[in-house]
């Protein structure tokens, strides 16, 4: 036991107090690691051939996250409870923006969230995620934006969308007249 270097899994198992174990992006790990996790998740123990079986003192609360880049094995899914986190509604996202980027003005925050929600409806190659919304909000604060007019939109849309095809599609999606102060009226991008 002296020669075992305790990495997070073993530390969580052997911890004298109850802990939460987070296994992030498990779909990036290979199949062998998933198979190793099976024993941990079903019996909360680790078998080391030379040392023996190390059982958990307190059953840790294990949270696994996955971005669905590949299918997880059925045996792993069977040992878990499943929660699917979808994109937030407008009100939820607005609350997140207000919490994380308090420097952004109230009405501007609402406009930002409305634009993002509309973009998600269009068929983009990669729909903007919440963290990209927050990045965009922060960049607007950094640029001291007063209003979300056509020029500001054009300057900062690349924070939100990361594919050329998506940028072009967004220009058609958002070329509707925007309710906002300053420039007002639609502008067409070519």
């Amino acid at each position: 036991m002296r020669f075992l270097l305790q990495r997070p899994l073993l530390r969580a198992i052997l911890s004298p107090e109850p802990v939460v174990l987070l296994v992030d992006e498990i779909d990036r790990a290979d199949a062998e690691f998933e198979a190793f996790l099976l024993e941990v998740l079903s019996d909360y123990q680790v078998s080391v051939p030379e040392v023996g079986t190390l059982r958990a003192v307190h059953v840790p609360l294990v949270v696994l996250t996955s971005n669905n880049t590949r299918d997880l094995s059925e045996a792993l899914k069977r040992r878990c409870l499943y929660l699917f986190i979808d994109y937030p509604t407008l009100e939820q996202e607005l609350r997140v923006v207000r919490l994380k980027v308090p420097g952004l003005a109230e009405d501007l925050a609402r406009q930002v969230v409305e634009v993002v929600q509309r973009l998600r409806q269009g068929e983009l190659r990669k729909a903007p995620s919440i963290s990209e919304t927050l990045d965009w909000a922060r960049s607007l604060v950094a640029l001291n934006a007063r209003a979300l007019d056509a020029e500001m939109l054009e300057r900062t849309l690349t924070v939100l969308l990361k594919h050329e095809a998506d940028l072009r599609r967004a220009q058609t999606l958002l070329a509707m007249p925007r309710r906002g102060p300053a420039s007002g009226g639609a502008t067409s991008h070519t």
Partner: protein, 459 residues
């Protein structure tokens, strides 16, 4: 309640959601822990334990209200307790003027009697509920049951009842109240019908014998697959790939050793003056790199789709895959595959090709490859062609094919046509076959999977 949950689970299974025994036990335990008091909590805990993939969520949301919308027997108000003796007498008098069956239903509504289980069963049998096993027909079945109970006539007759009661001397107020109560009873009764019909249908669906035969589908030749078959195969190919993946991984794990490692052997044997007294092997199996060129013309589309799906699902067993699709010219399909399913990727590639009627031309596709992607072929790459070798009498460019075969480590050709057909008509298959190291005839999905397995096993 437990029985209802179990019936719900079997309905989920019948709709295609795979719920294992352990997961159903987890579901029951979750419900016991979370309690049934709060409907939302009950639903969420059941869903978290039973559904483990995104596709199942929609099916769960569709079936949950069928089984769990009416937790207890709907309570129907009992009017008779409410009426004074004279009023009861007047009501009975009014009802006597209706036909027998109507009166029975009225009396049930007035007395607040829900339908018993036998009555529900009899009703279901009368409208033929046992034969139907599709939830789509639920509303139709309910309508028929309502008709059997004469609920529609009851509605019409209610106005008449009001009139009669008023005529017999009952106050307007009371009449209105009675009318309101009867409406409530009727709605509760209909709710009971809804619940019963839904559960019976779902139960019938679960009892239906499982559609055969995954085995038969895998063994069916590609040219005899219908679009519906193809749909099922698309779903199942991922499981096939998972099975393949574990076979390959196990085989590597149990192999006594990897390939012979020439450099390490020479180094280890320097003390023996270079005589290889001790052999050294690689301790890890090296993953191959693949370059796949698929024919996506009409006859070959299904084969190519399945091949691309299989390879995409196996990508962690392969170092890198570059996939190309061709009809008369070459298109790079790997980025489309990364975004979505194989058949959508193929459809997108075909949409990108200019409209028109064109024939398969492998020769000019090989030229495209030579011009733009030749660097992809090196000594670690396996070059795979999926096609039938039919070139519509175009130039087959055997020289280019030779060049590619020589540049890569291995070459493999997968064709759905059996050997006797090679060389007939516009087929250049026999000429390509001479130059290609390995040609596999794959007529169905099973053989395709076996070919991919062999591909990942060797070299």
């Amino acid at each position: 309640m437990e029985e209802r949950i179990l019936r719900f689970i079997s309905a989920l299974r019948a709709s295609g959601v795979r719920v294992s025994l352990a997961e159903s036990a987890d579901g029951l335990r979750a419900v016991r822990a979370a309690g049934v008091g709060d409907r939302d909590r009950f639903r969420v805990s059941l869903r978290a334990a039973l559904i483990k993939e995104h596709r199942g969520l929609a099916i769960f949301d569709r079936l949950f209200p069928v089984f769990f919308d009416h937790a207890a027997m709907p309570s129907l108000p009992d009017l008779t307790g409410d009426l004074s003796p004279q009023e009861a007498e007047l009501l009975a008098e009014a009802l006597r003027q209706f036909s027998e069956s109507l009166r029975r239903t009225f009396e049930r509504l007035v007395r607040g009697e829900p339908l018993s289980d036998e009555e529900l069963e009899r009703l279901g049998r009368a409208v033929g509920l046992q034969q139907v096993d599709n939830l789509r027909y639920r509303d139709w079945m309910i309508e028929r049951m309502r008709r059997a109970l004469r609920l529609r006539e009851v509605q019409e007759a209610l106005a008449e009842l009001e009139e009669t009661l008023a005529r017999l001397g009952l106050q307007r107020e009371r009449v209105k109240q009675i009318r309101a109560q009867i409406d409530v009873s009727q709605r509760a009764l209909e709710g009971q019908l809804l619940g019963y019909a839904g559960q019976q249908l779902a139960g019938n669906m679960a009892a239906r014998p499982r559609p055969s035969d995954w085995q038969a589908l895998v063994a069916r030749p590609f040219d005899r697959l219908s679009e519906a078959d193809m749909e099922r195969l698309r779903h199942e190919v991922r499981r096939l790939a998972a099975a393949l993946r574990s076979t390959v991984a196990l085989r590597q794990k149990h192999a006594r050793s990897g390939q012979l490692d020439a450099k390490a052997t020479v180094r280890a044997n320097l003390r023996y003056a270079g005589v290889p007294m001790e052999l050294r092997h690689r301790d890890r199996h090296l993953k191959p790199k693949l370059v796949v060129v698929c024919d996506v013309s009409a006859s070959m589309r299904y084969v190519s789709e399945l091949m691309l799906s299989l390879l995409h699902a196996l990508q962690d067993q392969v170092r890198k895959t570059h996939a190309f699709a061709f009809i008369d010219r070459l298109e790079y399909i790997s980025p489309d595959l990364a975004r979505g399913e194989a058949h959508q990727a193929v459809a997108r590639v075909i949409a990108r090709m200019p409209a028109g009627y064109y024939n398969t031309d492998l020769g000019s596709s090989l030229e495209d490859f030579d011009r733009r992607h030749l660097a992809l072929l090196d000594t670690r790459t396996t070059f795979i062609v999926v096609g039938d070798g039919r070139n519509n009498f175009n130039e087959p460019r055997l020289d280019l094919f030779d060049k590619f075969v020589r540049r890569s480590r291995r070459a493999l050709w997968l064709t759905p046509e059996p050997r006797p057909l090679w060389g007939t008509g516009d087929s250049d298959m026999h000429r390509y076959a001479e130059r290609c190291g390995a040609v596999q005839v794959v007529t169905n999905l099973g053989e395709l999977a076996a070919a991919v397995d062999r591909l990942l096993a060797g070299g």
